[in-house]
Amino acid sequence: MAHIPVEGAFEAEAGAHVADQVGFVRRYIFSTDHKVIGIQYILTGLFMAVVGTLLAVLIRLQLGWPAHQWTLVGKLLPAGMAGGIMTPEFYLALVTMHGTIMVFFFISYVLVSGFGNYLIPLQVGARDMAYPFLNMLSYWVALLSALVMLASFFVTGGAAAAGWTSYPPLSAVPSAVPGSGWGQTLWILSMALFIASFTMSSLNFVATIFSLRARGMSMMRMSLTVWSFFISAILGLLAFPPLTAAAVMLLFDRHFGTSFFLPSGLVVANQLLPHQGGSPLLWQLLFWFLGHPEVYVLILPALGIACDILPAFTRKPVFGYRIQVYCLIAVGVLSMVVWGHHMFVSGMSPFSGEYFTLATLLITIPMTIFGVNMMGSLWGGKLRLTTAMLFTLGVIAFFGTGGFGGLFLGNATADMQLHDTYFVVGHFHFMIGGVTLLATFAALYFWFPKMFGRSMNESWGKVHFWLTFIPFFTVFFMQHFLGLQGMPRRYYAFTSYEFLQRTMGQNVVISVAALTLMGAQLIFLANFCWSLARGRRAEANPWRATTLEWTVDSPPPHGNFGHALPVVHRWPYEYSVEGFDADYTPQTVSPREVPVTA
């Protein structure tokens, strides 16, 4: 039998007994095993989440108590908060880096790259990803990208300050604000590395799902988790390259004197810039061509994972599996053609605005069907409120609430009023903040036993859930109303405006809730670390679930499946088949033993 070259890469590390022989470094650090890489992504992402959370603490300190002097914090951060008073430039860097780190380095790494890598081969019945070496490379480029982004805090002028969207001219003129200097250059380089790494990951996801499914695992027998990773990887492949193009042009504008995004007559620091003829809107078009599909890249896996956790704790199939799949596909297609709804106030033609409004509202149809089906999955089920289930219910709650706000923002007429206010901040924190965060926690509690062979503590998990869910809802629900009162985002000294002074009380409540939320994450971190060492030993299938990863040991051995790959006989939601004692039937059980219901 011939080998094709890519297989040579994993020949080097083949098999369980070979894996036992390779040293610690090849096994746990420079490993090509998808499970190790997935966990590496998750740990890196969790570290970045801690950084992003600390930035949010500083933001909320400023907004809750604008005049207060934080002497101790000032000693820790002498550059940004000399004497305990935050500088406006530092505030801009904080919001920029908080957004960038949470979107690209936390949610993308943990939920998409982390769980994607861990779950896809296990759930489709493959021994590893299609290109294991590329997979390893993807992680190390991702780590480099994160390090470059973190390094930007320590260069002259500090981190980038042009917002996570990096709109020019702030991002294109190095002398604009301190963060527009080296910080912005490193931001662009880090994003280029991120895109390269994410592209490698996506290639692996698509090829593995497309090509390495076990026998009997037809596309319509794949779990919704795998389906959502599949759609999200395709979106990543198609939507990320345009940002690479934009980043190249932005670098040239900054360092080589071109004028892609810089118009003529621009005066910065009392100096007329030599640029002419460029258009800042061009950046917005290219950025949002990436940026909008990117939010679906993140939220689709969150929804897919939620749909897979539900049946394990309702003991009945997910409602409307086929429709869910079609909805995922429809959302994927539509997400590529709605980017203009981020630019309603950019002076676009009203006809374009009309189109983008219609296209955006069209997306709400498959998304609503998806959400209603998730609720339908609860109907008549025997609910078991474990921590993973609570977080999944939280996903549904946030998805409904946040999605409702999206109706207003997707409509050009309403968006004209709400654009760049806290209404937007509240909305996107519910969606790509909350839905994805809660799904990440649900997934961590659900698959932790599979990953590490031990279970997380359930009681502390529930405390963690309530101290996450209630403060999170408070913070971002209230921010919608701040937006309705006209409070603009990214304003450091909002109290300078008389009409905003009466929002002070609300901002204090939001800050207290936000600090509670952040403090509660310490419970999670403690539970995570404690359970790694001391958690209760987990059996192969602690949740009595049906997908393939639960048919192997916890943690699964190198190569995932022992002597032979599994053969799949049924869909992944075979729960409570009538007339049979066991209320779940794994996908590998033959139809002779238990009839196939779908």
Binding site: A245, S259, L285
Partner: protein
Amino acid sequence: MTRQSVSLPWPHAADTESVQRHDLVQLGVWMFLATVVMLFAAFTSAYIIRRSASDWTPIELPWMLWMSTAALVASSVAFERGRFASKRGQAASARYGISAAAGLGLIFLAGQVVAWRDLVARGVYVPTSPHSSFFFILTATHGVHVVAGLVLLIYTVTRIWDVGVPLDRGAPARLIAASATFWHFLAVLWLYVFVLVSVF
């Protein structure tokens, strides 16, 4: 969808596991090309938008571009002749055809560098006009992909150089097919870029 039976390298696994549904190299190449298409689509839309500004002054393109174009097209033809030879089992002419393709690819890159030097000698730099900015960025981006293609071609040549390796089936045939896809794509992409910068 052809089901290929490949032996997987897990020692504890059964000898053959019939799992792989597609040629992974070819599939990977096609997906990568999709990302390259999106990259150049973004550059194209930027080009069209930027072109509508009043300060767009076209630069005179170097005649050398025609030479490099000829070299790249000839390279594609040479590769295709080599590939046909490999299918008919004529290993020697296959090796020469694909090696010639790699050589012509190098000549193409040299031609691009000469074209750049010609522009610089005439005082046309990256920021001289939006047209020159796009010209340099598009040719450089394409050039980077050609360098990647050359690495793939040279790798292919080394893999098929051993006399006695049959080229009409198995791994060598799939490798040749995948690098052919990539290499022809780069030629077509260059024709596209050339038309874009010279006509529009």
